[in-house]
């Protein structure tokens, strides 16, 4: 017993000697590296915050009701508003969602539940989907121009045209996120359903899809929040400033980002201020949609 305790205390003292000294995590090299990491983080966050703050301060005088209720005005430049753009963006979003969601979910369901992933054509589709998600948005604008041309529209700056462009743009995102949501539904659930005598179609429709809805909703909303900020494909289509509310799919329309883009290139200071205020509105819309997506994800997420 005493021998053991002596040995233990000897070991203890030698260990104590080894424990002394400056932490090697605090040597200059480590600290330098840590500082570089911090700098990278702050650079991103601070620049973004500064931009938002600058825009908010610049636009503060015009964050009023008229910004939402008035149309763009050439005469009363300090009362110019974004009614057409805000309503137009809402119209475009709803139409885009109606076009993109069924198509995207349908494609994803086919790829996940029905397609034989070993065949060369399905693999081709798979690779292309990943690439399509990274195609510049302006390309989708040109594609939409071609589609509208084929449909026989001479003026393409209408709700339908813009929605086709934006739907094409977000389709790959919707498909990819829907596939992930479907894949997250455990195989045991499908097997349980099939073992009861359900068809693959019944299993998908009654079990897999309902379980995947939160994931699909989250992905779709994130896709739409990307679409709402897009100007390039819509400019290609020829969307221009209008002074009326859209009332149908074939009505002329303008989106908020286009209005901002056009006003901010004007030399009048009133327009600059109004554009800054509109940017804050657009940011609020996007943040709102993202918040909704996060809420849905957290509220309905299922742990299997």
């Amino acid at each position: 017993m005493s021998v053991a305790s002596t040995a233990a205390s000897a070991a203890q003292s030698s260990v104590q000697a080894n424990l002394k000294g400056r932490s090697r995590d605090k040597n200059p090299k480590s600290i330098l590296f840590l500082a570089a990491l911090w700098f990278s983080l702050f650079f991103g966050v601070v620049v973004l915050l500064a931009l938002i703050l600058d825009t908010a301060i610049a636009g503060a005088p015009r964050l009023d009701g008229e910004l939402f209720t008035n149309y763009e005005s050439r005469i009363n430049r300090d009362e110019t508003g974004f009614r057409a753009g805000i309503l137009g963006s809402v119209w475009l979003m709803v139409t885009t969602a109606i076009l993109a969601i069924p198509l995207g979910i349908g494609a994803a369901v086919h790829l996940e539940e029905f397609a034989d992933s070993r065949t060369w054509y399905n693999r081709l589709v798979e690779v292309n989907l990943q690439n399509l998600a990274a195609v510049p948005s302006i390309i989708y604008g040109m594609l939409a121009v071609a589609i509208m041309g084929l449909l026989g529209f001479t003026y393409k700056g209408i709700v339908l045209g813009g929605a086709i462009a934006l739907a094409l743009l977000i389709l790959p995102v919707v498909i990819i996120t829907t596939r992930e949501a479907i894949r997250a539904v455990p195989e045991e659930i499908r097997q349980g359903s099939l073992a009861l005598g359900a068809t693959v179609w019944q299993t998908t429709w009654r079990n897999t899809l309902p379980s995947a809805v939160p994931g699909i909703a989250t992905g779709t909303i994130l896709g739409l929040s990307r679409a709402i900020g897009e100007a390039a494909p819509l400019i290609i289509l020829g969307l221009a400033v209008v002074r009326e509310d859209p009332a149908g799919l074939l009505d002329k329309v303008v989106a908020l980002p286009i209005q901002i883009f056009q006003l901010s290139s004007e030399s009048h200071e009133e327009y600059q201020i109004a554009a800054s205020a509109a940017i804050i509105v657009l940011l609020a819309m996007i943040l709102g949609m993202n918040a909704l997506a996060i809420f849905i994800r957290n509220k309905f997420q299922r742990s299997w």
Partner: protein, 298 residues
């Protein structure tokens, strides 16, 4: 010597550590009279071979499953017992690259014949899985799911749900929360719900793939009691890793083993012995069965 009987502490142990006698006495109704072979087999496998791509998973299995009997499939991991089970209601069709040769008959009809609808097969031959897999729906909707998807003619769904839950010895525990999510139930209750869900479609045969391996001993014992009750109405085929379980609940036992291929080393499962459970555990005719039962291997 990895496998010890649950009753080892109370049972007399023999000098060489064998406990086959103990296991034989565990059988709850060993006095049940059983003919040597199932007289009226509900299902039979003739020359059943299963391949996954080039891999020969199961070699030449011949089995028959008697009406209102519990048949246990036992054997070491990778011996193909689950594969055989999944052939019996064509669940192996869902595995890409799986190929089945030979015959599986259900009341004399080959379920792998041309023109047989696997979905129709599965409504007659239900399956309970290793891990409880209730649907993310209410308890009621879990039970009603099968009758609904198969378009069963049901006079009163409420009555059917109650009947199924009573049949699975779950009704008293859940009758006040039928509309609540099945995920609120314990693991053992979930597994009994899965059994209730299966019997709601009024199958003839129930396949169970290690139904208790994810459950604690108390829940396991309840499932075993339930199996004994269900035996009077259904033909039950169970895959289990637990030899005590096979000894406790089954009337007949099929012992499988895996034989490595000389050239590729792939292990092909084959049936070693199929007999009354009491004989398999007390007096096996094959040396490999005896070794496995007595814990010398596997």
């Amino acid at each position: 010597m990895s496998i010890k009987p649950a009753t080892a502490s109370t049972a007399p142990s023999t000098h060489d550590g064998r406990h086959v006698d103990t296991l034989a006495t565990v059988h709850q109704d060993a006095e049940r009279e059983l003919p040597a072979l199932p007289p009226d087999p509900v299902m039979e496998a003739h020359g059943l071979n299963v391949f996954y791509g080039d891999f020969h998973a199961v070699h030449d299995v011949n089995l028959s499953f008697g009406r209102n009997e519990i048949t246990a499939l036992i054997g070491p991991s990778g011996c193909g017992k689950s594969t055989v089970l999944r052939c019996l209601n064509r669940m192996n069709d869902l595995v890409t690259g799986a190929r089945v040769e030979g015959e599986v008959t259900y009341h004399g009809q080959n379920i792998y014949a041309r023109g047989v609808d696997p979905i129709a097969v599965r409504t007659h031959i239900g399956m309970v899985f290793q891990k409880p897999n209730p649907f993310p729906k209410s308890i009621y909707d879990n039970i009603a799911y099968g009758p609904r998807v198969t378009g069963m003619k049901v006079d009163s769904m409420d009555d059917l749900v109650e009947e199924a839950l009573r049949g699975a010895a779950l009704w008293d525990e859940v009758k006040d929360k039928l509309k609540q999510s099945a995920y609120g139930l314990s693991g053992g209750q979930q597994q009994r719900l899965c059994i209730a869900r299966t019997i709601a479609t009024r199958p003839d045969v129930i396949l169970m793939d290690e139904p208790c391996s994810a459950l604690d001993p108390i829940a396991t014992s309840r499932i075993e009691d339930l199996m004994m009750e269900l035996r009077s109405d259904y033909t039950i085929i169970i895959v289990t890793h637990n030899m005590q379980q096979a000894a406790r609940v089954s009337d007949r036992t099929a012992f499988f083993t895996a034989r490595p291929d000389e050239t590729t080393g792939n292990r092909t499962g084959l049936l070693v012995e199929f007999d009354q459970t009491t004989r398999i555990f007390a007096n096996p005719s094959d040396k490999r069965t005896e070794d496995y039962i007595s814990g010398r291997f596997g």
